[in-house]
Amino acid sequence: MFEDSVPLAHYLTLSAVLFVIGIVGVLVRRNVIVVFMSIEIMLNAVNISLIAFDHYLNLSNGQIFSFMVMCVAAAEVSVGLAIIIALHRNKPTVNLDEFNLLKW
């Protein structure tokens, strides 16, 4: 199999890079949906690490964990989209910067 060909560090690096991409996405994008997608990238980055760890530690907890994460992510998506839709009804825009009624 691939045990020796791809060391753990690579997986972790990939995961970290993806995670940072997600963070940067959240920080720089204005579009609600894109921001939301960036967050999903972060979650999936974590999933990569989880699976990789499992693989190298020869355990199964991580896989279970990653399933949970996926479930939760799905739930979050549904709630999140619902919120965005509700918002869009009151204020037809997806630009995040326009939502700053509440501040200071």
């Binding site: 939301f36 980055a45 509440l102």
Partner: protein
């Protein structure tokens, strides 16, 4: 691979509160179909459910019990927290009833969501496995996202939900990543096993583990609204419906603290030298930022949001001190905070008008001479929040400071007391408006019975815990 067993009945009994509450939550949801516009029935059913939950929590003996291969625990900490959760949820429901009538929130899911959220909180407080903790966190969060935005036609409410949702998910990423790294470096998601693993010296300098700890701090820090991860709190507290704000300030926060405390004092106590400094920084920042932020606020909900940030700072001191006193001081603090906060929000709701008006401090001008008892109660709550004897807040703070001093965190305590001095300023500002200014306009307060009940419960709790705290203290110290 071990063979997979069906869950033993003993495990199910341990899980009883969660099960009972889930059933009631579903029940309420279903009942809503027949309930029509009048939600009174739903409210009562929910309250009964919470009561049953609290009772069922005590069904399990002996204590502590570990169920589901050590991933779920029934111990004094969790039992006590369950009490706090059911109490706070019940008070929220009581607060909500008339508020929802007034604001026109006519959705049956509301009560169901609160109950489900409570389920998540119970899971959070009882879990000893990171997967469970994650699930708990998410159940709580998702319910709260919805609750914050439950006033769909209100822009502020929408915005609050959106902000909370985006930032919450963002922070979940950090929390998750932290858990992953901890798992990766220790090989287990179970807190006890992690603790065993961490005892070895080599683990303690593992950068992955330490990184994981940092990320956990961020994740939990966000959930408890500790600085600098607090920025969502003022906006969300302000935008969310007032009962939900009160709920968020108490229940979920307590749950997050329970998990926070569990993870840090049960799983990685050996790493304390490393995370003490992190948490101390966060604690100090929270106190300072919370208090500084609150000083300039004119909206009372927003002010209380900042105040709750500073309270998170005080509570973190308990987490840091992790002594035998720390857990019990955390419990006591949460309980007294629950009474005080619900009382204060109760009064805010009583004074509010349709459309979330009357939330500016000016609206409180001269309250003391129109409604002396209400002003007096508000004063009691605020003083208790500030930590003024003989109210609950003082004993709670005293407790936490004791725990910290016993462990030698003198500097932290000194910073904390100086911060409480600052906090007096803004708490007293409300008193200034109520007592020392002339009334600006008319108050038309409808003394709705449920809300009033919450205020009275809060008042009794605040004073009782302040003057005769012994019973509760001895309960917490088990």
């Amino acid at each position: 691979m071990e063979p997979i067993h069906a869950p033993e009945s003993i495990d199910l009994i341990a899980l009883a509160p969660v099960l009972v509450l889930s059933v009631f939550a579903m029940g309420v949801l279903v009942l809503d179909l027949w309930a029509g516009k009048n939600k009174t029935l739903l409210m009562f059913v929910s309250l009964v459910g919470l009561l049953m939950t609290a009772i069922s929590a005590f069904a399990k003996h002996p204590i502590p019990t570990f169920a589901f291969t050590d991933s779920y625990t029934v111990d004094h900490l969790s039992l006590f927290f369950i009490c706090i959760f059911t109490l706070s949820s019940a008070l929220t429901i009581l607060l909500s009833y008339e508020y929802n009538e007034r604001e026109g929130i006519k959705v049956g899911e509301y009560y169901s969501l609160i109950l489900l959220c409570t389920v998540g909180m119970i899971l959070l407080a009882s879990s000893t496995d990171m997967i469970m903790i994650f699930l708990g966190v998410e159940i709580v969060s998702i319910c709260l996202y919805v609750l914050a935005g439950i006033r769909r036609d209100n822009k502020a409410s929408n915005e609050a939900a959106l902000k909370y949702f985006l930032l919450g998910a963002f922070a979940t990423g950090f929390l998750l990543y932290g858990m992953t790294l901890v798992y990766g470096s220790t090989g287990s998601t179970n807190l006890f096993k992690i603790a065993e693993f961490v005892k070895s010296d080599s683990a303690q300098s593992n950068p992955l583990l330490l990184m994981g700890i940092v990320l956990l701090v961020i994740g939990f820090g966000f959930k408890v609204a500790a600085a600098p991860f607090h920025m969502w709190a003022p906006d969300v507290y302000q935008g969310a419906p007032t009962p939900v704000t009160a709920f968020m300030a108490v229940g979920p926060k307590a749950a997050a603290f329970a998990a926070f405390f569990r993870v840090f004092s049960e799983a990685v106590p050996e790493l304390a030298p490393s995370w003490e400094i992190l948490l101390s920084t966060v604690a100090v920042l929270s106190m300072v930022v919370g208090n500084l932020g609150a000083i300039m606020q004119t909206n009372i909900k927003r002010m209380l949001a900042f105040s709750s940030i500073s309270h998170a700072g005080y509570l973190l001191i308990a987490v840091i001190s992790k002594s035998s006193l720390a857990g019990s001081s955390l419990l006591f603090y949460m309980l007294s905070y629950a009474f005080t906060t619900f009382g204060a929000f109760g009064i805010i709701i009583l004074l509010g008008r349709k459309g979330e008006e009357n939330l500016e401090l000016e609206n409180y001008s001269g309250l003391a001479y129109k409604h002396p008892l209400m002003a007096l109660s508000m004063t009691v709550f605020l003083l208790s929040l500030g930590g003024m004897p003989p109210f609950a807040g003082f004993v709670a703070k005293f407790y936490i400071f004791s725990a910290a001093i016993e462990e030698g965190f003198l500097t932290l305590v000194i910073i904390a007391v100086l911060n409480s001095a600052i906090s007096f300023y803004y708490y007293l500002k409300v008193v200034v408006f109520m007592y020392m200014k002339e009334p600006a306009g008319e108050f038309n307060i409808s003394l709705t019975p449920m809300t009033l009940l919450v205020v009275i419960i809060g008042l009794i709790g605040t004073i009782e815990l302040g003057i005769f705290p012994d019973t509760i203290i001895s309960l917490t110290t088990h």
